[in-house]
């Protein structure tokens, strides 16, 4: 009980964060949905984008926009919006399946090294939580850990010791996940190729082409320079690609 009270007090300033949807934007959303159901995907996409421009950025709008691009055959743009929706709803089943479907249709098969794939599977919670949830988990784990430690100081009980160890572990793991998400957020992040074919060169300019990437290929942005991005693929390949050929997630 003490833990809950103390934790709530400590987290109270943060729990009241968030904004409420503007109900006046619902008609535009409904119009967009109608256009989509009438197979007018370009019109539907325009309306979803209007909603985003108006500040109504939600996982649902981003997901629907991704669907529009998928229907128009633009895999890269679809993947970009699906990934943006994932920040809001990282565990939505339909979204995950759509992402898998887009990736299965992408022309480039870029497989990460085996050990990285194993690590990714081991740290599955990192991908199940968005940045906000990860930061709240850090706060909660932090509060419970220290409160447990306080209790342990005055009452040395076995279950309290176990609580301290457990939440200490949760704190470390969630802290690492949060730190990774923060690094990714503050850096250039990831991007997706959104053109039919894009050349990847050895330098930012008229350099030799080392390989080509196609619509829907995922890449990590390392550096930005003069209209070019230095990129790195999951399989370790590196190069430079024109900014106009990709869209950041």
């Amino acid at each position: 009980m003490l833990l809950i009270v103390v934790g709530s007090i400590l987290l109270f300033p943060l729990l009241a964060d968030g904004e409420v949807v503007g109900l006046s934007d619902e008609p535009l959303f409904n119009e967009a949905n109608q256009a989509y159901n009438g197979n007018d995907f370009a019109t539907a996409a325009e309306k979803y984008k209007q909603l985003l421009d108006m500040g109504q950025e939600s996982g649902e709008v981003l997901y629907n926009l991704g669907n529009c691009y998928f229907r128009m055959g633009r895999l890269g743009n679809a993947l970009v919006y699906y990934e943006r929706a994932r920040r809001f709803m990282p565990r939505n089943r339909n979204l995950l399946e759509n992402i898998a479907l887009v990736e299965s249709r992408a022309a480039d098969d870029i497989a990460p090294p085996k050990f990285l794939a194993v690590v990714s599977k081991g740290f599955v919670w990192h991908y199940m939580l968005n940045a906000r949830e990860a930061s709240l988990l850090v706060l909660a784990a932090n509060a419970v850990f220290w409160v447990s430690l306080c209790v342990l100081t005055v009452a040395n009980r076995r279950f309290i010791r176990a609580t301290v160890v457990l939440f200490g572990l949760i704190l470390i793991l969630s802290g690492c996940s949060y730190a990774l998400k923060e690094m990714e957020r503050r850096g250039l992040g990831n991007a997706v190729v959104t053109v039919e074919e894009a050349a990847v060169r050895t330098g930012p300019g008229d350099y030799a082409v080392t390989f080509n990437l196609h619509d829907g290929a995922r890449l990590r942005l390392v550096e930005a320079r003069d209209g070019w991005y230095e990129i790195r693929l999951a399989d370790g390949k590196r190069g430079w690609i024109e900014k106009d050929n990709v869209e950041r997630i």
Binding site: L11, G22, G59, N67, R132, T153, V154
Partner: protein, 606 residues
């Protein structure tokens, strides 16, 4: 004879005598040379031509003064139709050998036909010694030369220029293939065409001509020089004949060539071409550099289709110009279409004198939205060098009825349990999930951050730090007596002073002094960890002095203790005022002792 073989290409007619002929008959005589060396031969040709049908009569030879008739060289006949009238001609050749040097006249030959007599004119022939006849080595200018020429001196950028290299040969026998260097055509796109062989007349002389056409398209503006062609090789040069006459020796020479092989080197003149830029005036905005004269056709299919299905737009360019380099036409209004690089087919029909053919572009457009889609026009622009003006040909509009795309067959992507705690996304269908019907909450997906976040992170460990310190202190107080006494010293001293204050107010001097003594000695005993009972002023002095307390403080403490001792045993030893002063003094010394021996001051509890 050797000379006769050399002249096998085309015999040269040096002198022709013609005779007045009837409307139906023409009778002519000619020789192949007017100057002949003694020992050589001259060929007399008598030609009878008759229009209409009939048997040609035989001519009669003229008197051959100064010549021997070696033999009759043969007869050739020729038939021709002119304006519906057939003409028959027959030529008879007579080989004559001169007998001696001098000027001779071959008299008139005679032809009798239809009651008329036809005669040729006399022919003069000069017979000279063999040594007096110039060497029959062909000179460059006369019998063997080459030229390089362009069909125009000025051209627009991209306009076709034809350059011809010609090798003229007359009576020359080449040994092997000649070697050609050049021409260099920097600044031009070049097509070398196959050479042709023909005949040309230059200065009344018939030449065998080898013609090599080179088609050029200027790539840059300015003045360009096409470098000369250099032709090298070997040729046979006949040796001069021996001067001794005699038919037999000549007969022997008739069958044996006498020549030497010499090298030759022919060089043409260079050719200069001025390439003019295309005019800027009236240049269409989407002109892409096409030069020539073209026609343009466009077709598209289908006109009704679904979203995502392709439209094929076929654009055919036909005409004259560098058809292989023609750039595609421009299609307007393709914002709602996905486009692909067009497929190109080129068919060149002819390259010289004019490059001509057709080039077909097949563009694929994929509509992205349903409804009526219109391409307003497809335009093709080129510069016509003949008109010296730009021409734009446009076709359209093209309308398409685009129906919505069909629903794709369902194939779901699902997470499949592949083992304990393991899931794998598997594609079991081909469709994406449905859209959301609720808009959801707009919010920030980013992490919680800011002062509140930092405070929430920092407060728990701070609270733990304070708690840990407090609990630790408590435990020490419980376990460490000396430490506890030191911590309690000030508090206990204050209690004693409070009791002394109450005694003072009651006027009980003995109790006052007793409490005062306990306060001071108890404080010192707690600070030093010694029993307070039996601690005398002397002991206090020693303790304080060993702790480095100032001497005056030590004296004040001992004086206070002595005064309290006196007051304990003599109830009226001190007046209330003195006792109040002693109380202040006690507070002062305790405060100073606290400072010297440890922290915290003594609070005023009066």
């Amino acid at each position: 004879m050797g000379r006769r073989l050399i002249l096998v290409l085309v015999p040269l007619v040096l002198a022709v005598a013609s005779l007045e002929a009837s409307a139906q008959i023409s009778f002519t005589a000619s020789v192949d040379k007017n100057v002949v060396a003694l020992g050589d031969t001259v060929v007399l040709t008598l030609t009878v031509a008759m229009s209409g049908q009939g048997q040609l009569p035989d001519p009669e030879l003229p008197p051959l003064i100064g010549f021997d008739l070696i033999y009759e060289g043969g007869t050739s006949k020729e038939f021709s139709y002119v304006n519906g009238v057939m003409t028959t001609s027959e030529s008879r050749r007579y080989v004559l050998a001169p007998k001696e040097e001098g000027e001779f006249v071959i008299g008139a030959a005679t032809l009798r036909y239809g009651g008329s007599v036809y005669r040729t004119g006399p022919i003069q022939v000069r017979v000279v010694a063999a040594s007096q006849l110039p060497e029959q080595v062909p000179t460059e200018r006369e019998n063997f030369f080459c030229t390089l020429a362009a069909d125009k001196e000025e051209a627009f950028l991209g306009e076709q220029v034809n350059v011809y290299f010609r090798l003229y040969v007359r009576g020359v026998q080449l040994v092997g293939e000649p070697r050609r260097e050049g021409p260099a055509t920097e600044g031009f796109l070049r097509y070398d065409l196959p050479f042709t062989i023909g005949r040309e007349i230059q200065n009344d002389l018939i030449y065998e001509v080898v013609k090599l056409p080179i088609v050029l398209f200027p790539l840059e503006t300015g003045e360009f020089t096409i470098t000369p062609v250099v032709l090298t090789g070997e040729m046979k040069v006949p040796l001069p004949r021996r001067s001794s006459p005699g038919v037999l020796r000549d007969f022997d020479g008739f069958f044996r060539d006498r020549y030497t092989v010499e090298r030759y080197r022919l060089v043409t003149e260079p050719v200069t071409i001025l390439v003019k830029p295309l005019p800027d005036e009236d240049k269409p905005p989407f002109f892409s550099g096409n030069v020539g004269s073209y026609s343009f056709e466009v077709s598209s299919k289908p006109s009704q289709l679904k979203v995502g299905e392709p439209i094929s737009v076929t654009m055919k360019i036909t005409g004259e110009g560098n058809i292989e380099a023609v750039n595609p036409p421009v299609i307007s209004d393709i914002e709602d279409f996905k486009t692909y690089e067009p497929e190109i087919t080129t068919n060149v029909v002819e390259k010289e004198p004019v490059f001509k053919g057709e080039r077909i572009f097949e563009a694929i457009l994929v509509p992205q939205r349903p409804g009526r889609q219109v391409i307003r026009n497809v335009a093709f622009s080129f510069f016509d060098p003949e008109k010296e003006d730009y021409v734009t040909l446009a076709k359209g509009p093209f309308e398409f009825n685009v129906l919505p795309a069909p629903v794709e067959p369902m194939r779901r992507v699902v997470a499949v349990e592949t083992g304990p705690g393991k899931t794998e996304i598997k594609v079991v269908g081909e469709d994406i999930g449905p859209i959301f019907t609720e808009m959801g909450s707009a919010g920030r997906p980013g992490p919680v951050e800011g002062v509140g976040f930092l405070a929430s992170l920092g407060v728990p460990p701070l609270a733990y730090a304070f708690l840990a310190a407090a609990v630790g202190k408590k435990r020490r107080l419980a376990s460490d007596v000396a430490y506890a006494r030191k911590q309690r010293a000030t508090r206990d001293a204050r209690k004693r002073l409070a009791m002394a204050t109450r005694a003072l107010k009651r006027g009980d001097g003995a109790v006052f002094c007793g409490e005062m003594t306990k306060a001071v000695t108890g404080f010192v005993a707690d600070k030093f960890g010694v029993p307070s009972a039996g601690l005398t002023a002397v002991d206090v002095r020693e303790k304080l002095t060993s702790a480095g307390a100032p001497e005056d403080l030590v004296k004040r403490v001992t004086d206070l203790l002595e005064a309290c001792d006196y007051g304990r045993f003599a109830a009226t030893a001190h007046t209330p005022g003195e006792m109040a002063s002693m109380l202040d003094g006690a507070r002062y010394v305790l405060s100073e002792l606290q400072r010297v021996l440890g922290r915290s001051g003594v609070a005023d509890d009066r």
